[in-house]
Amino acid sequence: MDSTLVLILLLSPIIGFLINLFFGKNLSKSLSGTIGTIAVGISFVVSVILFNKVTQSGEGITVHFFDWIQVSNFNVGFSFLLDQLSLLWLLFVTGIGTLIHLYSISYMHDDENLHKFFSYLNLFVFFMIMLVSGSNLLIMFIGWEGVGLCSYLLIGFWYKNQDYNDAAKKAFIMNRIGDLGFLAGVFIIGYLFGSLDYLTIKQAIASGQYVDLGLLAFAAFCLFIGATGKSAQLPLFTWLPDAMAGPTPVSALIHAATMVTAGIFMITRMNFVFELTPAVLNVIAIIGALTALVAAFIALVQNDIKKVLAYSTVSQLGLMFLALGLGAYEIAVFHVVTHAFFKACLFLGSGSVIHAMGGEQDMRYMGGLKGHMKITFITFLISTLAISGIFPLSGFFSKDEILLVAFHENKVLWFIASAASVMTAFYMFRLLYLTFFGKFRGTEEQKSKLHESPSLMTFPLIVLAVLAAIGGLISIPGNSWLNHYLEPIFIGSRPHHAVDSTAFILMGVATVGALIGIFLAYSKYIKKGQLPVKDEEVTGFAKVLHNKFYVDEIYTAIIVKPIYWLGDFFKSIVEVIISSIVFGTGKLTNFVSEQGKTLQNGSVGLYLFVFVLGFSTIVYYLFLA
């Protein structure tokens, strides 16, 4: 029964993928969109059924299909573990996935390759399910690589634009650097524990089995490098903003709600390993806080609506890593869930705006859309309030918990995270004001075509906005359903911070901070009616921010250029040497055979002469000598 359900869960998206891949061309656009949506919808229904089962029994379901790798006593099974953590992820991956599929039917209806789009999306959902529901690190690795591939395919979906292709390649290569770390971590863990199975490793650690802590810390660090690649943390974050080249539903699904949280999923999954390596946790916390700050800074001056959201995603992911690094895994997971709701809603809302603007993404040419797109505006406003951390929307609870933990553990990190939150409120409201308020700044033609998106697009927006509003209920301070729910995935009991006066003061501080950010944005963009200046006129620190701290340029200088140089070196020196050896052999053979050719001149007389000479020689040496 369970194995059938898991099979349906896995196979449904892959069947959708195959149908759209092979027959998509012959299907009508709405039909291939419907197939894609239903395929993910089935997975969602199965996830809900499994979720009910697991919440009732309180125990994870393990489904073993077959033994995959068997080398002496090292076993890797092709099996799946559906416990509290993976089901939580499955629920929002397939749930938000279904909504975004639905949205895409309308958003992509003009695209000639719509069936391809849906087949890639289905494939992505399949790999994401693999990633979260595998029972060992190797199955997770299949999903991990698979989602990277789908991300590549979808970023470069409009492949006729070379910039988009470059963005896709950048995402893929940056991810590969992380993947190498992940793989190294998997190998070391396999070496240390003789198994890759989560439950086996957890059992081994819980029973106090001796492990080399130095090597384990190295493994944990390698895994974290993998997470920085997939989840766009310093120093591998630059691919995510470029990944906005893909269609907006892709940005919403892959680059905001699901795939980029894979790193957080992995670290939460392996929490028992990371718990043994506090040094690595410290690194994670610092990297997370710095990422949150750096990305928030960059987001302050971006003018592309999707770029702002992308940097905001990086910043929020940084906050999640901060929570992970402080050992508050369930709070990171909480923020993942709420972030998935409001960020998916924001991206879909921006998609709706871009749709109405006829493809324009620069906020300097928007403005005043409030009156034209009511539903988009209201849902966008709710999500913006949620991400800024305004009570009682979901972002308030999750962000506040992170700040609370940071305050208890390390005041400096708390300050950095708070600063990032204030900036979040500022740039999100800057985005809101520039897009929806003021006067319309686009062309007359665009103005005449402004329209609210069709209901297929607004329906997901409404659902997500509702979730973004009430999502905080799953973990109310003091009486957290989520913390209780996630308890089985940890070893031992979890520390709890009591809801005391400090907590309330911090909530107040965070809210005031958010309000200050909002007010600053208000006074700058509404009261004074300022507009971001043209790209060439940016000066001072804003110019540094505008150029994203020159990170791309630094990478080009210290990594890409030397690699090119190395490539040139190999091409001009090493290749010349090797090729002269290789070609020399060929030329020698050629030369020898040229000489031999003159012997074979067709003269029968010569042949006979050589024949007689040879025969005489043989006779002489055999019989006479």
């Binding site: 050719k597 074979q600 001149n601 067709g602 003269s603 029968v604 007389g605 006979l608 007689v612």
Partner: protein
Amino acid sequence: MLQNILQEIGIQNYIILSTIMFCIGVFGVLYRRNAIVVLMSIEIMLNAVNLLLVAFSTYHQDAAGQVFVFFTMTVAAAEVAIGLALLVAIYRNIKSIDIDQLRNLKG
């Protein structure tokens, strides 16, 4: 009776005669350009061998050598027949039977 001939002439003379004939044949093959003469030279070489076979057959008083000579002669006859036929064919093509002209085998 045959034994007497061998006693009177001596086996080594047969060997020498056979060697001389074989060498004549070899030089004929090597130095003559006319294909018919080449074929004839090959026949001389064959006959040199035949002579040697017959001489040793008598010397050892064993008839097998003489039987073998019959086979050689049959094969030689067949070979000449084929060789001449080939020559006719070649002559029809290039109007010559000079083997220096047969250079189409050149690789």
